[in-house]
Symmetry: none
DNA sequence: AGGGCCATGAAACATTTGTTGCACGATTTA
DNA sequence: TAAATCGTGCAACAAATGTTTCATGGCCCT
């Protein structure tokens, strides 16, 4: 079984990389970034594109334990070979118990989540996005594990609508924000069983203020979905394991942001580009290499 | 680029196959059945395995309109090249318009994400979880949109290991935490293209300190994956839309937490129950209705 | 049957491949 | 400061690559 401690050539490369000479690091990075070309094109060809000496590739291979470039490339080729075994056959054996029950747990979890995603209603999301598009201001709420989803939504929406989006409670006690809800604004509340009192309070405040309420929840019976103009459902409990799954909620949040952006048209695009340009100017990102 | 928009070289081959000489048909079938080997191994090598003459490969290539085997192989190689990630601006364009384009966008996004999830390596996650289980302390890092994933991971892990988990930079400047990394501790860094400098700094600090480095990234070539003991890959660019998808990263984070919890056994379970009991006592949750 | 045609395998060809020895320069050590 | 070590590019090397040529053998047509 291929389960042994032997790892892929790319991991070997990655682990050895920091302890390598400068030039070898360069070509090592190049190989890692272009491993498909590494398996198909010639060493000299790669060297020309990487702007390095052909010999460096041979030396790199030897430095990480191969007899030469040929052997390293062969390893990369095998690692890339399309798997002939179907994932189902793997699933069939070693169920539940045994040395690899952890792996089975992960596999189950991922498959369950993948199966859950398409059940999300695309129409409902598109409708909610239109509501967001029309909103003068957008408030976002999520407590406990849902806070992460709330923050991602906040982040993405602020990329192209910086002044009009904020998380409830971000700049002080929640209660202050609750009084600020106005008609024409949108309030998003994210949550699932067991529901936190705080999120329900936010939903009620939004409802009373006449703001557009968008609930992202695991059930239409969720208390924060009461009186909501839009309810977007995901399956929190669909996955095996001990914590409810947030993948569905996150997928909804991302779709919501994407559609809202698309509704924003040229203006939104301009805003996003400005933001990206500012980040680039502040050298937030690692610069691209040739 | 030899010819204009032609179909894939493999279909060209299949079409021309019946009108070819006997021997060339055999070779052609072999190429069609083993096109991965055709792109990676040498002509003579293939000939030996197919039980044919090396010259037959050159003749086959010429028979279907290529200048030689090299050119045919180049075409096969390009046809097999993994779909490259297109930059944001390119992806933003060429969207179809129409009344329901928004709905289509959501559907595309969800389907793509569902398809991407099962590609995550369950083994790698299980291994990383074991490393987390053994770690004396766990540091978590994620900037910009990845911060949301980092915070979810932090939240879930703290449910059963409250004193040993923290987000880098949560209690002051990042730099203070970077000096606190120790061998025996684990550092998780989450990120994708374009990579923030800050996340790379954290990864390097972890490496230098001898801590166990776990990278959750979109590529093995990611700078914060260099020297990492575990790399968990997700597809950020797999989904249509304008922002990279975090669903994969989130699924990894949740699986990681679930497996780590399961490794924690009875002790972890006790911890979780205590936490839940405390939250219930503080009446955080909405009480069940009859 | 004979003559032309084409398919086929083996061997020789010019290129290109991965590798290695060597010299130069930078950095470290005594 | 001198010696030693290491990293690096260049150039020459043998091996392997794809291609071509040539001789052979089978096939069809007149």
């Amino acid at each position: 079984m291929a389960l042994s401690a032997k790892s892929s050539p790319l991991s070997e490369l990655r682990i050895a990389l920091p302890s390598l000479p400068l030039r070898l690091q360069e070509v090592g990075r190049f190989v890692a970034a272009n491993d498909y070309d590494a398996t198909t094109r010639s060493m000299r060809d790669l060297a020309a594109e990487a702007g390095a000496d052909p010999a460096a590739f041979t030396r790199l291979a030897k430095a990480i334990g191969y007899s030469g470039w040929d052997e390293l490339r062969a390893a990369l080729t095998e690692a890339r070979r399309p798997s002939q075994i179907s994932p189902f056959s793997v699933r069939a054996k070693n169920r539940r118990h045994g040395p690899n029950s952890d792996v089975a747990l992960v596999t189950d979890k991922l498959e369950a989540e993948a199966a859950g995603l398409p059940r999300i209603s695309a129409h409902a999301i598109a409708d909610a996005a239109r509501a967001l598009h029309d909103a003068k201001r957008i408030w976002i709420t999520g407590y406990r594990s849902c806070r992460s989803v709330a923050e991602l939504l906040n982040y993405e929406l602020r990329l192209f609508r910086p002044e009009q989006v904020q998380i409830v409670g971000a700049s002080g006690p929640d209660d202050l924000d609750l009084g600020a809800f106005r008609p024409g604004e949108a309030v998003i509340v994210i949550g699932f069983t067991p529901y936190t009192n705080a999120s329900v309070r936010v939903a009620q405040a939004a409802y009373r203020a006449g703001a557009t309420l968008i609930a992202i929840a695991d059930s239409v019976a969720a208390p924060m979905a009461e009186g909501a103009d839009h309810v977007l459902l995901f399956e929190a409990a669909s996955s095996p394991g001990f914590f409810p799954s947030l993948t569905g909620a996150l997928a909804i949040a991302q779709s919501l942001a994407a559609v809202t952006f698309s509704l924003g048209g040229a203006a939104a695009k301009k805003r996003l580009e400005d933001t990206e340009a500012r980040l680039a100017a502040a050298s937030t990102y690692v610069s691209e290499k040739g």
